[in-house]
């Protein structure tokens, strides 16, 4: 999981399939990011923000009671304990610092459930930047609380009324908007998708999850490295960041997708939102809308590096249903006292299903990234539990 270099490729996936008007802007982001990551000053400033504002490092929590029930040793990487409540803040602090370094005065973002939008609004406020967040009208109705949080933080939230009025359309609208304002605005993509350098850059900003977890596993686990590393996958940023920390180990990677948004497990080769990857499509090549109870997994594709890891057999991608995810959320709440985001509950649902079987033999050590906390999902869960 290295540098995709000049052509921005992960195997055959990735690339910079951007409209000509955005190609130069992507090149500038790439150049600025390469300079910044080599600059100790930038790295130091980001590390300080991650520590003092976002609350890193996050703990590695052994899930003791649930482990006993399942017969495996389950450790949770607690991204739910970061400021703003999910891993999204790791990427956004990095990109916001980069935007300020590039002299941009405004951040543009897309958001589904609102977690990336809230993180962007937060980072913008912290660094004195403006923020404009595109959000599907349907998601605005479902996530009223996050809309208010963004506005309270000073961000402008623009409803997207086209297409399915969810994340896919919010992403399209953010790209359209960016074309007209590349000179003063940075597009802060929220996942490991989009034109090069975004899939790589976002993974690099998220690898703090995997790097921290690697050190924590070395200190806590008898074997030093877990047998399995598990994370949920929408676009796939928390999974990519987690996997990156264990790329040179023998740990087996499992990405867990929503049954209705399984880009890696069931997608076909395509190009959307600037990158070549796997997308859910109909027989005519039109992109199919995703459906998941977890808004953060409601994306019809997957980041290009995941498509590549799938082809290599380095990671496997599995799916769980809405019901399984809700069941897993309840179980974690009652055994460990943690209410997870429904996205993260997908990863747990696979662990619960697989534990004791051939995929996850009894006694295995499992590291699972708990990507976010469940507060945003309380009204959804209230209807179901």
């Amino acid at each position: 999981m290295g540098d995709p270099r000049a052509r921005g490729r992960f195997g055959e996936y990735g690339g910079r399939y951007a409209p000509e008007s955005l190609v130069e802007a992507c090149r500038e982001v790439d150049e600025a990011f390469r300079e910044a990551r080599a600059d100790p000053g930038f790295r130091g400033a980001l590390a300080e923000l991650l520590a003092l504002h976002a609350g890193r490092p996050t703990p590695l929590t052994p899930a003791r009671r649930l482990s006993q029930e399942l017969g495996v040793r389950l450790y949770l990487k607690r991204e739910d304990l970061t400021h703003t409540g999910s891993h999204k803040i790791n990427n956004v602090l990095g990109q916001a610092l980069l935007a300020a370094r590039m002299g941009r005065r405004r951040l543009i973002a897309e958001t589904g459930a609102g977690q990336h939008g809230v993180a962007t609004a937060t980072a913008a406020a912290l660094l004195g930047l403006e923020a404009t967040v595109f959000m599907g009208e349907r998601d605005i109705e479902r996530q009223a609380l996050n809309v208010f949080r963004m506005r309270m933080l000073g961000a402008e939230v623009i409803p997207v009324t086209t297409g399915s009025r969810t994340l896919k359309d919010a992403t399209s609208e953010a790209m359209r908007h960016w074309v007209g304002v590349t000179g003063d605005s940075h597009y802060c993509v929220g996942s490991v998708i989009g034109p090069d350098p975004y899939p790589w850059m976002v993974r690099e900003f998220q690898r703090v999850i995997g790097d921290e977890a690697r050190g924590q596993c070395a200190a806590e686990l008898r074997t030093g490295v877990p047998d399995h590393v598990v994370a949920c996958v929408g676009g796939g940023s928390n999974a990519a960041g987690t996997f990156a920390g264990f790329a040179d180990t023998s740990a087996r990677f499992v990405g867990v997708e929503a049954e209705g948004g399984a880009g890696a497990a069931r997608g076909r080769l395509g190009v959307l939102h600037g990158c070549r990857s796997l997308f859910l499509q109909d027989d005519d090549g039109q992109i199919v809308e995703a459906h998941s109870i977890a808004a953060g997994l409601d994306y019809p594709g997957v980041g290009p590096e995941h498509a590549h890891l799938r082809d290599l057999g380095r990671a496997r991608y599995v799916t769980v249903t809405d019901d399984e995810a809700v069941g897993a959320a309840v179980r974690l709440a009652r055994t460990e006292g943690i209410v997870p985001a429904l996205e993260s509950a997908h990863a747990l649902a696979w662990v619960i299903r697989a534990a004791g079987g051939g995929d996850l033999p009894a006694g295995s050590t499992v590291l699972m990234t708990l990507s976010g906390r469940g507060d945003k999902d309380i009204s959804t869960l209230k209807e179901l539990v």
Partner: protein, 265 residues
């Protein structure tokens, strides 16, 4: 064996017309947008179109503004697909001007570049515009398209740096599509200042026809664009009328006003 460096049918046609001193007019229609949509093609030719851009609708048109988005949604809701739109073209053989398809790269990859280009050619389409296939990603398409007899048109933007602009001008086939402004497709009140500058920059590197698109919606804008570009592409101004219920006769009348404006220059 085709000589892939020789100008193709679209370029020869546009050059011949340009060389008579004529300002080129390329109207756009979204395939499948209405039940009898191919009648628009005939109306365009009767109004004096020199080529026609045929949009193959995609579910996620990320470079299009509200009008073309709505036209794409309307066509897809009617059951339009690349296959059906190309089949519909059997109704209008021998239009007398080249048809240039435009669509997003996902639809090309879905069939595979070879099969996609072959299908275009069989249906009588001789050019292709793919706005999310910039020149540095176009390698897998250029030879395949040329071998199929489909001219792959590349887009240039006001943000394109000089060396890259030279590469686009050199590798584009049919014509060079100059994107007049930093924005999406859609009608605008005035022609952007960037349009004249971009056209002049492209001209320094090629004598291939240069058509200006994005935002050109009135006779005055067409006239102004005709002063420096070889012609104009008119999309959203056509499709807004189509979406409002205008028929082929209405569009013939509208495009005739643009034709006259270009002829006055």
């Amino acid at each position: 064996m085709t000589n892939i460096l020789a100008p193709g049918a679209v370029e020869r046609h546009l050059r011949a017309r340009r060389d008579t001193g004529r300002g080129l007019l390329m109207p756009y229609v979204t395939g499948g947008v209405t039940p009898g949509w191919t009648r628009y093609l005939k109306a365009f030719v009767e109004a004096g179109a020199d080529a026609i851009e045929l949009g193959l609708p995609f579910s996620d048109p990320t470079l299009d503004g509200a009008t073309i988005q709505q036209a794409s949604d309307t066509a897809l809701a009617r059951g339009a697909s690349t296959r059906r739109i190309l089949a519909d073209l059997a109704e209008v053989r021998d239009l007398g001007v080249p048809l240039v398809a435009s669509t997003y790269y996902n639809l090309v990859l879905h069939d595979g570049p070879e099969a996609f280009c072959a299908a275009l050619r069989r249906a009588g389409v001789s050019g292709l515009i793919v706005p999310d296939l910039p020149v540095h990603e176009a390698d897998e398409m250029t030879d395949v398209a040329a071998a199929a007899g489909v001219e792959l048109v590349l887009l240039a933007s006001p943000a394109t740096p000089r060396e890259r602009l030279e590469e686009i001008s050199r590798r584009s086939r049919g014509f060079v599509y100059a994107v007049s402004l930093m924005g999406t497709t859609g009608e605008r009140a005035a022609l952007a200042a960037s349009a004249a500058e971009l056209t002049a920059r492209i001209r320094r590197g090629t004598d291939r026809p240069v058509l200006l698109g994005f935002g050109i919606s009135t006779p005055d804008q067409a006239r102004e664009a005709g002063r420096y570009a070889d012609g104009v592409v008119v999309g959203a101004a056509v499709m807004r009328r189509v979406l409002d219920g205008a028929g082929p006769d209405d569009l013939r009348a509208f495009l005739a006003t643009l034709r006259r404006a270009l002829d006055q220059e």
